[in-house]
Amino acid sequence: MPKSNLFLSRKIKSLLEKRKSREALEALVLISVVTCLNVVFGYFAAVFAFYLSFFKWDYIGPMEFVGLKNFMVIFKDLWRGISGAYFFQAPFYTGLKNILLYTAIVVPTQTVLAMILAAFANQKIKGVQFYKVSYFLPAVTSPVIIALIFIWLFMKQGFINYMLQFVVPGFAPDWINDKNYLLYAIALVAIWGTSGHFMVSFLAAMQSIPRDIYEAAMLEGAGPIRRFIYITVPMLKPMIVYVVVLGLIGALQMFDLAWVMAGSNGGPGGAGYTMALDIYNEAFINLRPGVAAAKSIFLFALIFSTTYVFQKKYKVMVR
């Protein structure tokens, strides 16, 4: 037997006997799958995306280094969009514009709605579990399924327009086909689908507020509404930040709803076109993965900066 083998096997044996190294070794085995998969499909992929953004490629041939050209495509698109070009000349700009508007509608609304629902659902009354289950039901359903159902409901002669007659008679737009209303339809579906989930988060936070603080406030003259304003809302601040950050991350990347309700082309006049749709199209329809990678980095920067600024402003870090 060669000397080196003996030496090696003896070394491993002594390693296994030493408790600390044995522990480390077995631990590494236990984390191996998680680490490998996530490093490969997470970090490696991200780095590769970054790398890819500097290349021109069509998946088959060689990769051609083009420096910042892909980013120039993005900026030219944005430039054209700002100067008022039509959707098909400036898809990325349209996607960006739409998703920002969408986020501005969805995130505040779903946060406030979730908080109010949680306040009501926090009352100790009979049957409150039924309500909690009802509000949360949309959150366990696939967004695609929800979108398919809502397409039917949003039809010109559909259920939603019917219900609207009771509130605003005469107002019954063709949500899906009218470019002025499509984005709002998508936004409404999003709020409907996710507010239940965040309601539960707020409920959790509310229930961790000690009861005697409310009692003290009660004795000091604060009625239910003032208790909500002065006690509940300020003490919910960390959870509000959490909900908004999660909401931002979800809204800026919204894909499923747009794909179903607007189609991969973004619907009439590109009204339902989002950045996510654009990245998908770029990668799999136009077959320009380099540009797609560049756009995804833009999206990442957008998400990161908005969530970072928000967390900084409210001095609470989510992690």
Binding site: R22, E23, E26, A27, L28, L30, I31, V33, T35, L37, N38, F41, Y43, F44, A45, A46, A49, L52, A121, V133, S134, Y135, L137, V140, T141, S142, P143, V144, I145, I146, A147, L148, I149, F150, I151, W152, L153, M155, G158, W192, G196, H197, S201, A204, A205, M239, Y242, L252, Q253, F255, D256, W259, G263, A276, I279, P289, S296, L299, F300, I303
Partner: protein, 280 residues
């Protein structure tokens, strides 16, 4: 809380019930409408003002669904995918969760933070590169290839780690004194004790996998291999049936498992989100 019903108290309770019920209606009516309409003909379902009683009561939408060869296949594919994800996460995330929680090895905390940091990367950044990797592995259009991506994901690992951290150190020490190395401890102590957390992981991963869309859309190419969400949206966009009611029926079938699961477990699920939110 208050047992006597003063007029103002009664008014308040009525308001609360009114608001709660109003929103319950808003959140439930799409489901109820869909359920009712799935038994109607498209002609009746598209009537305005909408009708609530199927007349005639018909199962033709469901028949159409299952007559399409693809639909049962989609159910199968989705079940297979969900099964793989659940199994993978239960096994691998619990292993890693235990190791990160209770074992000492170099770089443990740094590595864990690095894994957590991954959560910040939007899915679109890694989508195309992952597609290329899976493509190179020859696993495109294959449920296994798709499952590989989320087989052992970070949130499950985080959950398992939190759970193992909440088990007192003494139990692990006792196992060590009794002669168990880390891997033995995992199988004899951790797994049996972790049933609640494993249940939570199983449920959340099942929900996520069953409802997943973007991943299956990109990584599955031929209609035979689609999962339910992708298949249904495909059917919709290709207008596979001239009417819309089969799509509604299909949506309900797709949503049924998750809804049933949720209603059965709702107490635990909601509690689980409560606990996770507390940590977040």
């Amino acid at each position: 809380m208050k047992s006597s019903l003063k007029p103002s108290k009664l008014g308040w309770i009525t308001l609360v019930y009114f608001v709660l019920s109003l929103f319950a209606y808003i959140y439930l009516s799409p489901f109820i409408r869909s359920f009712v309409a799935s038994f109607m003909t498209w002609e009746q379902a598209s009537k305005y003002p909408p009708e609530w009683i199927p007349n005639p009561f018909t199962l033709e939408n469901y028949v159409k669904l299952f007559r399409l060869e693809l639909f049962p296949r989609w159910i199968l594919n989705t079940a297979l995918y969900a099964g793989l994800i659940v199994a993978g996460n239960i096994i691998f995330s619990s292993m890693a969760g235990y190791a990160f929680a209770r074992l000492k090895f170099p770089g443990r905390d740094a590595l864990f933070s690095a894994l957590l940091a991954l959560l910040m990367i939007p899915i679109f950044v890694t989508l195309v590169p992952n597609y290329i990797i899976i493509y190179r592995l020859g696993l495109i259009d294959n449920i296994v290839g798709l499952a590989l991506l989320s087989l052992a994901n970070v949130p499950s690992t985080f959950l398992m780690r939190q759970y193992f951290l909440s088990i007192p150190q003494e139990i692990f020490d006792a196992a060590r004194i009794d002669g168990c190395g880390p891997i033995k401890t995992f199988f004899y102590i951790c797994l049996p004790l972790a049933k609640p957390a494993l249940g939570a992981v199983a449920v959340y991963q099942f929900l996520g996998a069953w409802n997943a869309f973007l991943g299956p859309l990109v990584f599955l190419r031929t209609p035979e291999n689609f999962t339910l969400p992708v298949g249904l949206s495909f059917a919709f966009q290709r207008s596979m049936w001239t009417e819309y009611t089969p799509i509604i029926a299909g949506s309900l079938v797709a949503a049924a498992p998750t809804i049933v699961l949720f209603i059965a477990l709702n107490k635990y699920l909601i509690k689980g989100i409560v606990i996770q939110a507390g940590k977040g």
